[in-house]
C-alpha cells in the first residue's frame, strides 16, 4: 500500500476539565478502510470532528497529499474533500432524497432562478447506480429507514467529490441485513479509491470491513494494527488497557424480598409488546439490548404513560394507574433519562433549584419556598453523593456529566422513591466517574431500593446487574440470572428477531 | 306520491322566497361601500350616522367599515378589495395611505364605479369628488383664535396625532402658516403622540418642563387634546397653560365648559357622512358635483358651545 492520503500528527484538543485528544497521530490511505476503536469517551469522535472541521485542534498538524492544510470549519473540510457522516444524521425530513443531496447547491435552469428538479433527480439516480443501488429520488427522507437515510448522507458526500469519508458508528441502528448492504457500499467506495475512516465499537464488524485498526484509550493513541494480524482479544485488551477480567456482580440473595415493581403484559406501540417483568427491593435489574430495542420506551411507558395501551403495573403489590409522571412519582417510581441534559435537568438553574424539583411540596408551605430547608437537603445530598460543585448555588450547566447525573439522582433520592429506573446512567461520563456511579447503584440497592438499569454497554450490564433482561424489537427475548449472564448469551437474545425466532437461528 | 311532489314544490318555493326576497331587495337599491380611516372612534361613528341618514333619504344601501387602528394600511387595502368584490356602484373612502389604494381605485373607476373621497380622502386622480373638512383651513382657524387668546404674543407647543395622515398633517401646517403671520408668537416644540391619550399626556408634561415659559398648547385631535388635558392637570398647570383642542368628546366638553380647555375646532362629521352619500348618489344619477365639497369647521368654547349651530356638531 502506498502513502497515506491524509495524516493527522500530534493532535491535541482539550475541553474544560478534560483532555479529549492527547497527542494522537492517525492517517488513512486511499482505497483503505481504517477503523478507529476505543471505549466511549476514548476520543475517537473528537479526533474525527477535528478532521471534519466541527472542532478546531489546540495543536498538531493535518497533512493532505503531503501538504499541510488548515481546517477551521466544516466548509474548509468539505472543500478539501473531507466529509463526516454523523451519528445524528443531518438531513431534512420534509425534503426529498434528491433535494437533500443537492441542498445548498441546487441545480438551476438556464435562467439561474428556477430550480431544475429533474436534473437533480436524474443525477441522484446516477449516483446511486454507481453504488449498484436503486433509489426513488422523490421519496421524502422522513419516510426512509435509518439505513436508507445513511445512504443519502453517503451519496451526498460523494457529490462533493469527497476523497475522505468519516463514518461514525454507521451500523449503530441497522439490522444485520442492512449492515450487509452498507458494507457492499463501503467496499464499492474503497474500490473507487476513497479513504474511509470507520469509527465503531462493534469489533466483529471490523474484521469484515477494515484494513487497519487504530485503538485509542482515554484520549491517547494506543496502537495501529493490520486487521489480518489482529485478534479480537488483543484489541479488547488494548481498548480497556488491562486484562479483561469481567467483574461480576455477586448474585442477588433472593430471600423473598418484597416485589417492588411488577409489570404485566405492558403494551405501548410497536416498541413495547407484551412486556412482563418484576424487580425486588435490593435488586439491580439490567435491561440489555441494541439501540432501539424498546427499552427506553418501556421505561417511559411505565413512568410517563407514553404510548400506553394496555397492561398492569403493580408497585409494592398495589396496582397503580399511570397517566403521567406525576402518577408514577406518587407511586414511588423515579426515572433518570438517558438524555439528562435535555430531559432531566433545568441546566440554567442551580444545583439547589434542581435537587428539590420533584418534591417541592416538601420544601414549601402555602406556595412559599422554604429556602433553608431546601439548602440543607441539597447540602446533605451533595455530601452523600459526593457531588463536586463549588457551591449548591452553581448552575448545573457548569458541572461535569458525572456530577450532573448525581444531581438528577439527588432529585429522586430527595423524593425518596423506591423504584429507580436508570436509562444509560453512564452515557457521556468519563471512566472514573462511571465507577462512582456503579458504587452508588450498589449502595442504593443495599439500602433496599429496586434498581432498573437500561444500558447498551455490555461490560456495565455484566458488572452491575443481579439479573438481566434482554429486549429486541419491543419484546423481552431472554432473562439471565447469576452465572448465566455473559456477553454471548446477551448478544444472542439481543438479535433474536421475531421472524427469526421460529427456526433458523444460526 | 302526489303529496310528496306537492310538499317538495312548496319547500322549494318557500326556500327560493326566503332567499330571493333579500337578494331582490339588495339588487334594487344602488350600493355604496364606505371605508373610513378608523372605526372605533366616535368621529367615525358620527360620520356613519350621517351617512345612514342620507342612505335612508336617498334610498341607497351602504356599508360602513374601517380598520380598528388608523395605521393599519394593509387592513384597509384588504377591506377595499373585499368591498369591490361585492360589486358596489360607488366607493367612498378615507385612505390611510393614498398611494397604496391608488391603483385599485383607478381600476374600479375604469369599470365605471364612482369614487368619492371623504375626510382624508383619496388621491386627486382617483376621486370624482372629495367631501371633507378643509384641514388647512381648520388649522388656520385654530391659529387665529390662539393668536387672539395670546394677544398676539407668546410661545406655543403643538401635540399632533400623526405624521402620515394628510388631514392630521394639514391641521398642523395650517396652524403653522397662520401663526407665522404673528411675529410675536413662536412655536417652540412639536411632538406626536399617535392620538393615544396616555402618550399625549406624557408629552404635555415633558413639554411644560422643557419649555417652562410655554403659554399655549395646540392639539390636533381628540386623543391628543384629552391626553394633554390630563397631563396638564397632573402637573397642576392646566390653569397656567391654555389648551386648544380639536374635535369633541364628553371629556373635552367638560374641560371646555370649565374653561380648562380654552376652545377647540369642531368639524361636522354628521354632515360629512351625509354629504358624502349625497355626492355619490348625485354622481350615480349623472349629475355634476363640485370636485371639493367643504363640510366646514367651527371654533367653539365655553361661550358658544350650547348655541344652536354648534351643539349638534359636538358629540360625547
Amino acid at each position: 500500500m502506498g502513502n497515506e492520503l491524509i495524516q493527522m500528527k500530534d493532535i491535541c484538543k482539550s475541553f474544560p476539565g478534560v483532555r479529549a485528544v492527547d497527542n494522537v497521530s492517525y492517517g488513512v490511505r486511499a482505497g483503505e478502510v481504517h477503523a478507529l476503536v476505543g471505549e466511549n469517551g476514548a476520543g475517537k469522535s473528537t479526533l474525527m470532528k477535528i478532521l471534519s472541521g466541527v472542532y478546531t485542534k489546540d495543536s498538531g498538524s493535518i497533512i493532505l497529499n503531503n501538504e499541510e492544510v488548515n481546517i477551521t470549519n466544516v466548509r474548509d473540510a468539505q472543500a478539501l474533500g473531507i466529509v463526516m457522516i454523523h451519528q445524528e444524521l443531518n438531513l431534512m425530513n420534509h425534503l426529498t432524497v434528491a433535494e437533500n443531496i443537492f441542498f445548498g447547491r441546487e441545480a438551476k435552469k438556464k435562467s439561474r432562478i428556477i430550480l431544475d428538479s429533474k436534473r437533480q433527480e436524474e443525477e441522484t439516480v446516477q449516483m446511486y447506480a454507481r453504488l449498484n443501488l436503486d433509489v426513488d429520488p422523490r421519496a421524502k427522507v422522513g419516510r426512509l429507514t435509518v439505513a436508507q437515510r445513511q445512504l443519502v448522507e453517503i451519496v451526498k458526500a460523494l457529490t462533493y467529490d469527497s476523497k475522505i469519508l468519516i463514518m461514525d458508528e454507521p451500523t449503530a441502528s441497522l439490522t444485520s441485513g442492512e449492515v450487509e448492504d452498507l458494507f457492499r457500499v463501503v467496499r464499492a467506495l474503497k474500490e473507487d479509491g476513497r479513504a474511509i475512516v470507520y469509527i465503531s465499537h462493534k469489533l466483529e464488524e471490523l474484521k469484515l470491513i477494515s484494513d487497519r485498526i487504530t485503538v485509542m484509550r482515554d484520549g491517547q493513541f494506543v496502537a495501529t494494527l493490520n486487521t489480518e494480524e489482529a485478534s479480537l482479544d488483543a484489541i479488547i485488551q488494548m481498548m480497556v488497557g488491562r486484562e479483561v477480567f469481567e467483574t461480576k456482580q455477586s448474585p442477588f440473595e433472593d430471600t423473598g424480598a418484597e416485589l417492588a415493581l411488577k409489570v404485566e403484559n405492558l403494551n405501548a406501540g410497536r416498541m413495547v409488546q407484551d412486556v412482563s417483568f418484576h424487580v425486588r427491593r435490593g435488586e439491580i435489574l439490567g435491561f440489555a439490548g441494541l439501540v432501539g430495542a424498546g427499552r427506553t420506551e418501556t421505561a417511559r411507558a411505565i413512568f410517563a404513560g407514553d404510548g400506553y395501551t394496555s397492561g398492569d403495573i403493580y408497585v409494592g403489590g398495589k396496582k397503580v394507574t399511570i397517566k403521567g409522571p406525576r402518577d408514577a412519582i406518587r407511586a414511588g417510581i423515579a426515572y433518570l433519562p438517558e438524555d439528562r441534559r435535555e430531559l432531566g435537568l433545568a441546566l440554567g438553574m442551580t444545583v439547589d433549584e434542581n435537587i428539590p424539583m420533584a418534591s417541592m411540596s416538601k420544601f414549601s408551605s402555602f406556595g412559599f419556598i422554604q429556602f433553608a430547608k431546601s439548602a440543607a437537603n441539597s447540602e446533605k445530598q451533595r455530601g452523600v453523593l459526593d457531588i463536586r460543585t463549588p457551591s449548591i448555588r452553581q448552575k448545573v450547566k457548569f458541572l461535569s456529566g458525572g456530577n450532573q447525573q448525581k444531581v438528577v439522582l439527588a432529585k429522586w433520592l430527595t423524593r425518596n422513591c423506591d423504584v429507580i429506573i436508570f436509562d444509560e446512567p453512564t452515557k457521556g461520563i468519563d471512566i472514573g466517574a462511571k465507577n462512582e456511579i456503579y458504587k452508588l447503584l450498589n449502595e442504593l440497592a443495599e439500602q433496599g431500593k429496586a434498581i432498573i438499569m437500561i444500558s447498551s454497554e455490555l461490560p456495565e450490564i455484566l458488572r452491575v446487574s443481579h439479573r438481566v433482561l434482554v429486549m429486541c424489537e419491543g419484546r423481552i427475548t431472554g432473562e439471565l440470572v447469576g452465572d448465566e449472564i455473559d456477553q454471548n448469551r446477551i448478544m444472542n437474545f439481543a438479535v433474536k428477531r421475531n421472524h427469526a425466532a421460529g427456526g433458523q437461528v444460526g | 306520491m302526489k303529496r310528496n311532489v306537492l310538499v317538495f314544490v312548496l319547500v322549494v318555493a318557500l326556500l327560493t322566497g326566503l332567499v330571493a326576497v333579500p337578494v331582490m331587495a339588495n339588487d334594487e337599491k344602488p350600493y355604496i361601500a364606505m371605508i373610513a380611516l378608523g372605526y372605533g372612534h366616535q368621529f367615525w361613528q358620527a360620520v356613519r350616522m350621517g351617512a345612514e341618514q342620507a342612505a335612508e333619504e336617498f334610498g341607497v344601501r351602504i356599508t360602513f367599515e374601517g380598520p380598528e387602528d388608523e395605521t393599519m394600511v394593509d387592513r384597509q387595502v384588504d377591506m377595499l378589495k373585499t368591498a369591490l368584490a361585492n360589486k358596489p356602484q360607488a366607493i367612498a373612502m378615507a385612505a390611510i395611505d393614498t398611494e397604496s389604494v391608488a391603483g385599485i381605485l383607478q381600476e374600479a373607476k375604469a369599470e365605471g364605479i364612482v369614487v368619492v373621497g371623504f375626510d382624508a380622502g383619496v388621491g386627486d386622480a382617483e376621486s370624482d369628488a372629495k367631501v371633507s373638512t378643509d384641514s388647512v383651513e381648520a388649522g388656520r382657524l385654530a391659529a387665529e383664535n390662539a393668536a387672539r387668546l395670546l394677544n398676539n404674543e407668546g410661545k406655543i407647543g403643538i401635540i399632533g396625532h400623526s405624521q402620515t395622515t394628510i388631514d392630521a398633517v394639514q391641521r398642523v401646517i395650517g396652524f403653522q402658516e397662520k401663526i407665522a403671520e404673528f411675529p410675536g408668537i413662536q412655536i417652540v416644540d412639536i411632538q406626536y403622540g399617535e392620538g393615544d391619550h396616555l402618550r399625549s399626556a406624557e408629552i404635555a408634561k415633558t413639554m411644560t418642563l422643557a419649555h417652562a415659559d410655554i403659554d399655549l398648547i395646540y392639539t390636533s385631535n381628540e386623543g391628543s387634546c384629552v391626553g394633554a388635558y390630563i397631563g396638564l392637570r397632573e402637573v397642576g398647570k392646566i390653569r397656567d397653560i391654555m389648551l386648544v383642542g380639536f374635535d369633541s368628546s364628553a371629556a373635552m366638553k367638560d374641560g371646555i365648559r370649565t374653561g380648562e380647555i380654552v376652545g377647540a375646532i369642531t368639524q361636522d362629521p354628521v354632515g360629512m357622512g351625509y354629504k358624502t352619500v349625497e355626492a355619490a348618489v348625485k354622481l350615480l344619477n349623472g349629475e355634476q358635483v363640485d370636485s371639493f365639497i367643504d363640510t366646514g369647521c367651527y371654533w367653539y368654547d365655553a361661550s358658544n358651545m350650547d348655541a344652536d349651530h354648534i351643539a349638534p356638531l359636538l358629540y360625547d
Partner: protein, 324 residues
C-alpha cells in the same frame, strides 16, 4: 467576528452581571439627560417618569412571568383595555359598587390570561398564536361592549383618585406610583420566594424535565398566563383611572413596549432567564429615555428609533456575556 467578540468581552467582563449593566445604562441615561437639561432631575419630572412607567411597568411585570416560561403574551395591551372597559361597564351599567367593579375588571384580565393559558396547554396553540387570538378577541369585545364610545367615570370622583390622588399626602407622589411599587414588590416575592417563580423558570429552562419531575406543567402555565392577565387588569385600572375613562380603542402597541422592557431587563425570549428587578429597570429605562428625548425636543420619529437601539444593544451585550 473575533473583533466584536473581544469588544463584547471587554465591555461585559467576568464579574458583570446583566443587572449591573442595565443599572449602568439607566444611570448613564439619567446623567446624560441631566447634563442636557437640569430640570430632568427635578422632583416633578422624576414623578412624571415614575408615573409614565406605571402602565408599561405593570404590563411588563405580568408578561415577564410568561416570558420566563419560554412563552410570550402579546395580548396584554388589549386585555388591559378590555378589563378597564369591563370594570367601567360593571360600574356604570350594572351598578356594581366601586370596589367590586375594580375587582371585577382585574379578574376579567386574569380570566383572559387563563383562557390564553388553556389555549397554550390544552389546545396546543403556540403562545404567540394563542395570545394573538386573545388580543384580537379582547380588542373586538372592548369595542362591542362599549358601543365604541369611551366609558366615563366622571360620576365616581374616587375612581380618578385611585391613580392620581396621593394618599401619602405628598404632592406629585401619585397613588399609581405607590401601586406600581407595591405590585413590583408582590411580583418580586412571587418570583423569588414562591413556587410560581421557581416553576416558571424551570418550565422555561426545560419543560420536559419539569414534567418528568412531576410538576403539573399545564396547571402552572395556565396560572402564569392568568397572573399576566391580572397584572394587565391592574394596568387597566391605573390607565382608566388616570384618564377618567375607559377608552376602548386604546392599548395598541403597549404589549410590545412591555415585552421590550422585559427583554431589556434580561429576560430571554427562549425562557428560563430573567428577573423582576431587571424587568422594572427595563421599564424605567424606556420611560426615562422617552421622557428625556421629549425634553430635548427630539422629533417623535427619532425617539422610537432610540428605544430600538437601546433594546438591540441591551440584548447584544447580554448575548456577548453569555457567549463567554
Amino acid at each position: 467576528m473575533t473583533q466584536t467578540k473581544t469588544l463584547g468581552k471587554r465591555l461585559t467582563g467576568t464579574e458583570f452581571s446583566h443587572k449591573l449593566i442595565i443599572i449602568a445604562v439607566l444611570v448613564l441615561l439619567v446623567v446624560f439627560f441631566y447634563i442636557m437639561n437640569p430640570n430632568y432631575l427635578s422632583y416633578g419630572n422624576i414623578m412624571t417618569i415614575l408615573l409614565a412607567t406605571c402602565v408599561n411597568g405593570m404590563l411588563a411585570l405580568g408578561v415577564s412571568f410568561v416570558i420566563f416560561t419560554g412563552g410570550i403574551d402579546i395580548s396584554v395591551g388589549a386585555v388591559m383595555t378590555f378589563s378597564s372597559v369591563m370594570s367601567g361597564v360593571a360600574l356604570t351599567r350594572w351598578g356594581f359598587p366601586l370596589p367590586a367593579a375594580i375587582l371585577f375588571g382585574i379578574l376579567v384580565g386574569g380570566f383572559c390570561g387563563a383562557v390564553s393559558g388553556i389555549g397554550v396547554t390544552k389546545m396546543f396553540l403556540p403562545p404567540f398564536i394563542a395570545t394573538m387570538a386573545m388580543q384580537m378577541i379582547t380588542k373586538g369585545l372592548s369595542l362591542v361592549v362599549s358601543n365604541m364610545r369611551p366609558i366615563y367615570f366622571t360620576s365616581e370622583p374616587v375612581y380618578q383618585r385611585i391613580a392620581t390622588g396621593s394618599f401619602l399626602g405628598i404632592s406629585g407622589f401619585h397613588n399609581a406610583i405607590v401601586i406600581l411599587i407595591a405590585v413590583t414588590i408582590i411580583a418580586y416575592i412571587l418570583f423569588s420566594k414562591t413556587l410560581i417563580g421557581r416553576y416558571s423558570l424551570a418550565i422555561g429552562s426545560n419543560e420536559e424535565a419539569a414534567r418528568l419531575s412531576g410538576v403539573n406543567v399545564d396547571r402552572w402555565k395556565i396560572g402564569i398566563y392568568a397572573l399576566g392577565g391580572l397584572f394587565a387588569g391592574v394596568g387597566g385600572l391605573i390607565m382608566s383611572s388616570r384618564l377618567g375613562s375607559a377608552q376602548p380603542q386604546l392599548g395598541v402597541g403597549y404589549e410590545l413596549e412591555a415585552i421590550a422592557a422585559a427583554v431589556i431587563g434580561g429576560s430571554s425570549l427562549s425562557g428560563g432567564e430573567g428577573s423582576i428587578p431587571g424587568t422594572i429597570i427595563g421599564a424605567l429605562i424606556i420611560s426615562s429615555l422617552t421622557n428625556g428625548l421629549r425634553i430635548m425636543s427630539v422629533p417623535t420619529e427619532l425617539q422610537s428609533a432610540f428605544v430600538g437601539i437601546v433594546l438591540a444593544f441591551a440584548v447584544y451585550f447580554d448575548q456577548m456575556r453569555k457567549k463567554r
